[in-house]
């Protein structure tokens, strides 16, 4: 494979700068996405149609649209509307970096709404009823019973979504934000070597994604530490007895110790 280590080494400082931009966009999108998702989730779960329907449309539109089109729409499309172009927020919408974060955050928020809703709805009704029977106020029930449980239920889905959109930030290059992928493209255009910069960028992305995964696994262990003992007890015997049953039928066997990637 025509991989050029010296070019990879020389371009590393620029690549790391691109990576820093990718991380910055990811972090800002996380915060802004969460800030958007909370009110929309509450509206989505509201018993009143007047709140529920617009929230459902929000989710349907921004979840169904590719991030690439959202980039174009926020950066080029909104500039065409007089209310934006002449409005007080124009300095924000004229900035490519801000537009990238807004576009990605809308996409992220719409996924987050469904994840939060799924987590909150998975809390057994009996627990909420029990708190009410014990005279605990609805607000406290929400804070100390529903939210902590919902966080636990939703963590895995949240992890998948965060890691998914981090990889999705690669599209911000199309509106002139110089992230890691855009840097790799720049190096390619100057050196006519496509393989080296793309593979260097791939290695850096891989490190970032796996660091995030380790962080999430740490959070998972912390939130679910009360389950650790039971998990071990449960996993071993089942996996051990599954193996021969599978193997007998097929020659296939279930690997038992492996965790999902």
């Amino acid at each position: 494979m025509p991989f050029d280590p010296s070019l990879a080494w020389d371009s590393l400082p620029r690549m790391l700068f691109g990576l820093a931009n990718t991380v910055g966009i990811t972090a800002l999108t996380l915060v802004l996405g969460l800030a958007m998702a909370i009110p929309v989730t509450l509206a989505r779960m509201s018993p009143r149609r007047i709140f529920r329907l617009p929230a459902a449309w929000f989710v349907m539109f921004f979840r169904g649209t590719p991030a690439l089109i959202l980039m174009y729409l926020v950066y080029y499309g909104l500039a065409q509307l007089p209310s934006i172009h002449d409005g007080p927020l124009w300095p924000i919408f004229a900035n490519a970096f801000a537009c990238a974060v807004i576009g990605l955050a809308l996409n992220h928020a719409s996924y987050l709404v469904e994840i939060l809703r799924g987590g909150l709805e998975a809390v057994p009704a009996g627990l909420v009823e029990a708190s009410a029977a014990l005279g605990i106020s609805p607000r406290q029930t929400y804070q100390w019973v529903r939210l902590p449980l919902a966080m636990r239920y939703a963590l895995k889905a949240y992890q998948n979504e965060v890691i998914g959109f981090t990889k999705g930030t690669a599209v911000v290059g199309v509106i002139t934000v110089v992230d890691l992928t855009a840097t790799a493209n720049e190096v390619f255009e100057r050196t006519y070597d496509p393989v080296t910069p793309m593979l260097t960028a791939a290695v850096l992305y891989w490190c970032l994604i796996n660091l995030m995964r380790i962080g999430f696994e740490f959070a998972d262990r912390r939130l679910n530490r009360h389950l650790a003992a039971e998990e071990q007890r449960r996993r071993k015997p089942v996996a051990a007895s599954l193996q021969p049953a599978l193997a007998r039928w097929t020659g296939l066997a279930a690997p038992n110790t492996e965790r999902a990637l």
């Binding site: 979840r63 649209t65 959202l70 496509p194 791939a202 796996n210 020659g251 279930a254 690997p255 999902a260």
Partner: protein
């Protein structure tokens, strides 16, 4: 906003691009489905070497943006093949999507296989059902049921990822929308039109998948109530 005659022409181009987008999404998804099912079954073999290679490979593919994989195949594909063949954007995009989503489908199939209760295997043994029949009529329907929500999810992601192939020069819906936006100075309407295409298709998918899930879950409904 009124649509002029020249804009109507651009919308025809958009429709032609949409056909290419759908071709890419559907062929990429079907190939990834076949590849993922095969790879998922093979990597369940109790062989240490296969397990180790799979874990490394899956980690690499799942840790890298698909846009980067598309660029790698498009710009680097010619070099990697020794410069003999020129790769078209469609081929590069299709290869990249299949390579990436085969891994996701395979992981899903592996998870579904492991989640079929072991009592089902034991029951088929106890009832002396032949292996082929047990797989066709007992195990596989359950694997499909367990994997279905994930497969629908992957279809939606593949559909949206085809938009990225426009960045490798494919004349699909998105690239036509971009051309039209630049030429008419009306970016808003064309990008909204492109967005709505994807939104409508994911809404249709959700409808269809709800029916599929009801169909595959038909044995469960009674037990749950």
């Amino acid at each position: 906003m009124l649509i002029s005659a020249s804009e109507a022409g651009y919308f025809q181009q958009l429709a032609r691009g949409a056909v290419i987008t759908m071709e890419l999404a559907v062929s990429g998804y079907i190939l990834a489905l076949i590849g993922g099912a095969v790879v998922g079954l093979v990597t369940l073999l109790p062989n240490r070497a296969i397990q180790a290679v799979w874990r490394v490979y899956a980690s690499i593919v799942m840790g890298v943006p698909s846009l980067l994989v598309i660029f790698l195949f498009y710009y680097g594909g010619g070099t990697l093949l020794g410069g003999i063949i020129d790769i078209t954007p469609f081929e590069a995009g299709l290869t990249a999507l299949v390579v990436v989503y085969t891994v996701y489908v395979a992981e899903l199939v592996r998870g579904a296989m492991r989640n079929v209760p072991r009592g089902q295997f034991e029951a088929t043994a106890a009832l002396a059902i032949r292996p082929v029949g047990a797989w066709l009529h007992v195990i596989m329907p359950q694997v499909v049921r367990l994997a279905l929500p994930g497969l629908v999810n992957i279809w939606m992601i593949v559909l949206k990822d085809t938009a990225l192939v426009s960045l490798a020069g494919l004349n699909d819906l998105v690239s036509h929308a971009k051309t039209a936006a630049g030429a008419t100075k009306e970016p808003f309407i064309f990008f909204i039109a492109a967005a709505l295409f994807f939104v409508v298709f994911s809404a249709v998918t959700l409808r269809f998948s709800a029916r599929l899930e009801a169909r595959f879950g038909r044995g469960l409904a009674v037990a749950k109530a």
